[in-house]
């Protein structure tokens, strides 16, 4: 039975809802006729859409329909029940009739159910759509909020911005309006507007500063001009000296004629009586030595005899003054400090005071250059100092790198090893210094002269080491024993310095001035060229990476002079850092090399560079040339050029690299390499002119 009903239903639905609804129009009274009309119209669109139908129907009515259908069903069921319980033959027909009715109602229910589902789905879709819209609006809102926040921050930043001009100390407002020209101040605009006002004030500041800068420049040029004038005047003054000298010279015959030298000598001896003991010893010994052994030595006394005489008078009593100043100090405590400082300064000056008389020694060398030595005696420290000056017969063109060679500060440094003249030789002095706050004498030597040890010895002063003692007596024998050696050393020093001076002048122009009597040490053709010779600072030398060995060996003291030479051939550049000991030429200049060619080569990564260094540093004796070997530096540099030639020419050619050798071998060599460290033939053999290994 059930199956049959179902099949009917199916059939019914296959005709379409409309048909079924029409069939049971009586029972389905609630379906509104308009709806059906529109449904029909819809049907004409060839397909039937339940979704579309949903829109046309009223959910309320559907609900009514539902309720009504359920009631009908209940009623039919009850009637069937009733009929069945009654039994009878005609019952079956009635039951069948009711069953058909209830089937129709079921159809309606089913339809309603589907409609309900579609509605639900639609409702959901709508909700979802609405939700998405809301989300989008929310996002937009948040973006806007963020933007607002950012803009607010920017605004605060702008408000907090500190302009540079706030740090500039501007002139006050009143002053500004008073002084600034109206085209800058623009009072009518700026009075009300603080921004414009500040701008105007800044303009005025700029204007003022510009003017001041102009003024400064003017002052500078003025100063320059004055300096130049001073220079000219100085030159005039210094030219006066030789003229006066020549006048003196001219007057000599007259003096001689009038037997005045006796007079002069007598006068000098008279003056000498006022010399302090050490200077007196020096004076006597130097004069004696000059007369006996060295006619080129002349001795003179300088300074005011009257002042020297005054020294022996008892000092005037200044007790009253002192008590006065004491009283003053008590009164004004504010002035106390400067007074103390001045007092200490005075004390220092007093301590370092030198005797008004000094002894001048003029030592004339063979080439007419003169070493002027002025000896002073520091009375309170009981030491002697010397100032040196070298004058030459011909005017010297001073090469830049020779700056320190003849400077009074360094010309006599380390005449004896280690005697750099920067420390006081008198151990007692340290205690005196402590009292007045002098740390070391070093700061004063430029002014006072250098207290070299040999100076003390020439003056007969002998200081035992590490043992302070106050009574040091000037001793003639000590002075005499040192006179000859020291004079000879002084002469050698001056000559070697002058020789260096001359060599430097050539070196700076890239010329290695080999003299003819040293020519045999080198081959005729040397291709490598010196291109640079400059002086460098001690600190710079210490910092070079290839000079570590010399620094560690303690050969780079601060009394030495330092130079940098550059030798070039083609693409090869050889740097040589040179230490020039003040004891040149008995102590040779020391070279450290760094070759830039196919990589950087120094003594630590190339045995041959090491060998080149030892060729100039250790084998320097064969480069000395004729005595007194002042040409050593030049010869060493020339040797370096030759060594670089040999190094480059004997470098083995890398077969894998195309092209000719950069440096064809021109030097005659017996063998290219020798020994385990593959030394190159650096030794030059005169007169055959070939190179061999050492």
């Amino acid at each position: 039975m059930v199956r049959r009903r179902q099949s009917i239903c199916r059939r019914l639905w296959s005709f379409g809802d409309v048909a079924s609804l029409v069939c049971c129009r009586d029972s389905v009274r609630t379906i509104c006729p308009q709806n059906i009309c529109s449904l029909r119209a819809h049907m004409e669109g060839k397909y039937y859409s339940e979704e579309a139908e949903v829109d046309l129907r009223d959910p309320g009515r559907d609900y009514e329909l539902y309720k009504y259908t359920c009631q009908e069903l209940q009623r039919l069921m009850a009637e069937i029940q009733d009929l069945k319980s009654r039994g009878g033959k005609d019952v079956a027909v009635e039951i069948e009739d009711r069953r058909i009715q209830s089937c129709v109602h079921f159809m309606t229910l089913k339809k309603l159910n589907r409609l309900a589902h579609i509605r639900l789905k639609k409702g959901r879709d709508q909700t979802h759509e609405a939700k998405q819209k809301v989300d989008a609006y929310h996002l937009q809102l948040q973006n806007l909020l963020y933007e607002v926040m950012h803009l607010q921050k920017e605004i605060t930043k702008c408000l907090e911005f500190k302009s540079k001009h706030e740090e500039i100390d501007l002139v006050s407002l009143e002053e500004f309006y008073k002084e600034a020209p109206p085209d800058i101040s623009k009072a009518e605009v700026t009075m009300g507007d603080p921004h414009q006002q500040t701008l105007a004030r800044l303009d005025w500041e700029l204007e003022q500063r510009k003017r001041l800068a102009e003024k400064y420049r003017e002052c500078l040029s003025n100063k320059e001009k004055i300096l130049k004038e001073i220079e000219v005047k100085k030159e005039y003054l210094s030219s006066l000296q030789p003229r006066l000298n020549s006048i003196m010279q001219a007057s000599l015959p007259v003096q001689e004629y009038l037997f005045m030298p006796f007079d002069q000598a007598h006068k000098q001896y008279e003056t000498a009586r006022h010399l302090p003991p050490p200077l007196y010893v020096l004076f006597v010994q130097a004069t004696a030595y000059g007369q006996a052994c060295d006619k080129t030595l002349s001795v003179a006394i300088e300074g005011s005899v009257d002042e020297a005489k005054a020294l022996f008078k008892p000092p005037e009593d200044s007790q009253d003054d002192e008590s006065d100043s004491d009283a003053e100090e008590e009164q004004t405590t504010k002035r106390r400090r400067p007074t103390l400082g001045v007092q200490l300064d005075d004390k220092r000056k007093e301590m370092l005071k030198r005797h008004p008389l000094s002894v001048m020694l003029d030592l004339k060398c063979k080439d007419d250059s003169v070493l002027h030595l002025t000896f002073y005696y520091l009375m309170n420290l009981n030491i002697m100092t010397v100032k040196a000056k070298v004058t030459t017969a011909t005017e010297l063109i001073t090469p830049i790198s020779a700056g320190d060679l003849l400077s009074p500060d360094s010309v006599l440094s380390c005449l004896y090893p280690g005697d750099h003249g920067k420390k006081t030789p008198n151990p007692a002095n340290q205690y005196q210094f402590d009292k007045v706050g002098i740390l070391t004498l070093r700061d004063y030597v430029l002014d006072l002269g250098h207290p070299y040890l040999w100076v003390q010895k020439l003056g007969g002063l002998h200081f035992p080491k590490e043992q302070p003692q106050h009574t040091v007596i000037a001793d003639h024998s000590l002075s005499a024993s040192h006179m000859e050696t020291t004079m000879k050393l002084l002469k050698t020093r001056v000559q070697s310095r002058l020789a260096l001076h001359k060599q430097f002048a050539s070196l700076e122009h890239g010329i290695v001035p080999v003299t003819s009597d040293c020519q045999y040490l080198f081959p005729a053709k040397v291709v490598s060229r010196l291109v640079k010779w400059v002086t460098i600072a001690h600190e710079d030398y210490m910092e070079l990476h290839f000079t570590k060995d010399i620094v560690e060996a303690g050969l780079a003291g601060d009394t030495n002079l330092y130079y940098m030479a550059l030798v070039e051939r083609g693409t090869a550049k050889l740097q040589a850092a040179v230490v020039l000991n003040p004891g040149y030429s008995s102590i040779p200049p020391i070279f450290q090399l760094c070759l830039n060619w196919k990589g950087e080569k120094t003594n630590s990564n190339d045995d041959n560079i090491r060998a080149m260094e030892s060729e100039v540093n250790v084998c320097y004796k064969e480069l000395c040339g004729p005595r007194p070997s002042h040409q050593l530096l030049t010869n060493q540099l020339q040797r370096l050029c030759v060594l670089l030639d040999v190094y480059l020419e004997t470098e083995s050619h890398d077969d894998s690299v195309e092209g000719p050798k950069e440096f064809p071998q021109e030097k005659m060599c017996l063998r290219l390499f020798r020994g385990p460290s593959r030394m190159k033939p650096f030794k030059y053999n005169h007169p055959q002119g070939f190179f061999s290994h050492r």
Partner: protein
């Protein structure tokens, strides 16, 4: 009047000269005395200094014990090579070999026992002697160097018995294959030649630079050092029966190892890379990744020690791995010496010397303990 004697020359001159000499000193050779307690070192000024290893290694060693016990002028030129027999110290450099008695060497004014000069053909420049090699079985000494020949000298009579010719440039180094009277030589011409002493003939030639793997044209082709080692060869070769010869070429460095007559290996270094060679097949086995030319190489237990340019003593595994680099005090090393004299086990040290006046002493292979100094 009493006159003090002034110094005509500032004192500094001598001191500066000595400092410069020390600064430019190169120690070319070392040799341990037969008693194992002394080490002789020869420098480029021809001086030999004898250090007391036992004093320097003792617990109460002072600074002075690291200075030479005695220093004497042995040659006019550099002392390139030294070896010790059981009584003598043999030194060579400028063309002559000189013998000194170890027993008398510590006394002042020691004179050489004898001196010999191999028959040279040139007269313009005396060729140097770069390598000395003792052949204990024959009681002879092999000298090689500047004249491109190996000279064999009978130590009994002092006569030069043979000259082995073949090298086309001077010879840097020699090595002995102990179990057969064969000598290896390596030279500036880039060839390692194997000589049979019985027939005085050249048996084999390996031209290392021709092997692409180990050639380094920018460094040249020279062979600076060679080494062979029988102990190592026995143990190692038996383990790997296929191998017969190993060699290491580097810039001037050859190392040869020989054990059983059929098995031999060598290491060589110099211009080409440091390489371990298989002698029978003349093929390189291991090429050691060392850029700087090596000047000395030796086998030690199952390691290979090499030294050359650079401050370090390099320790290699046979497989070519760098096991350690131990820094020394010289910028470049030229010789290593292992003191393995059984007479002085307490003095068992490795010493290394080169481009400085210091001999570095390594009490173990890990670090430099101290330096002996000229």
């Amino acid at each position: 009047m009493e006159r003090a004697v002034p110094h005509a020359v500032p004192l500094g001159q001598m001191e500066v000269f000595q400092t410069l000499q020390r600064l430019h000193m190169t120690i070319f050779s070392q040799s341990v005395s037969p008693c194992g307690k002394f080490l002789a070192a020869g420098n480029n000024y021809g001086q030999i200094a004898v250090f007391s290893l036992s004093a320097a290694l003792s617990s109460e060693a002072k600074e002075e014990s690291k200075k030479p016990v005695v220093t004497f002028q042995a040659h006019d030129g550099p002392v390139y090579s030294m070896v010790s027999t059981d009584r003598h110290l043999l030194s060579a450099g400028d063309g002559e070999v000189k013998a000194w008695l170890w027993a008398e060497i510590l006394k002042k004014g020691c004179k050489e026992l004898w001196r010999r000069q191999p028959p040279y053909r040139t007269s313009l420049e005396v060729p140097e002697i770069n390598a000395l090699l003792l052949v204990p079985k024959e009681n002879s000494l092999i000298l090689a160097g500047g004249d491109c020949q190996l000279h064999a000298m009978d130590l009994e009579t002092g006569a030069f018995t043979r000259a082995l010719r073949g090298h086309t440039d001077y010879i840097h180094c020699l090595a002995l294959r102990e179990r057969s009277p064969e000598v290896l030589s390596g030279g500036e011409d880039g060839a390692v030649r194997l000589w049979d002493l019985r027939t005085a003939k050249e048996v084999q030639t390996i031209e290392v630079y021709k092997h692409e793997e180990c050639s380094r044209p920018h460094n040249g082709r020279w062979i600076g050092c060679l080494a062979t080692d029988s102990d190592w060869m026995v143990s190692w070769a038996e383990y790997r029966m296929g191998w017969q010869l190993q060699a290491l070429p580097a810039e001037g460095l050859w190392l040869m190892v020989a054990g059983d007559p059929h098995l031999s290996a060598q290491v060589c270094g110099g211009g080409p890379a440091l390489t371990l060679w298989h002698l029978r097949s003349s093929t390189p086995t291991t090429i050691f990744p060392m850029r700087a030319p090596q000047k000395h190489v030796t086998f030690y237990q199952d390691l290979i020690l090499s030294a050359g340019q650079g401050r370090c003593v390099n320790q290699w595994q046979l497989s070519g791995e760098l096991k350690a680099q131990v820094p020394g005090s010289s910028p470049g090393l030229l010789s290593l010496s292992l003191n393995q004299q059984p007479a002085a086990p307490e003095c068992k040290v490795l010493t290394a010397a080169g481009n400085s006046c210091r001999v570095d002493v390594f009490t173990n292979l890990g670090y430099r303990a101290f330096s002996l100094s000229f």
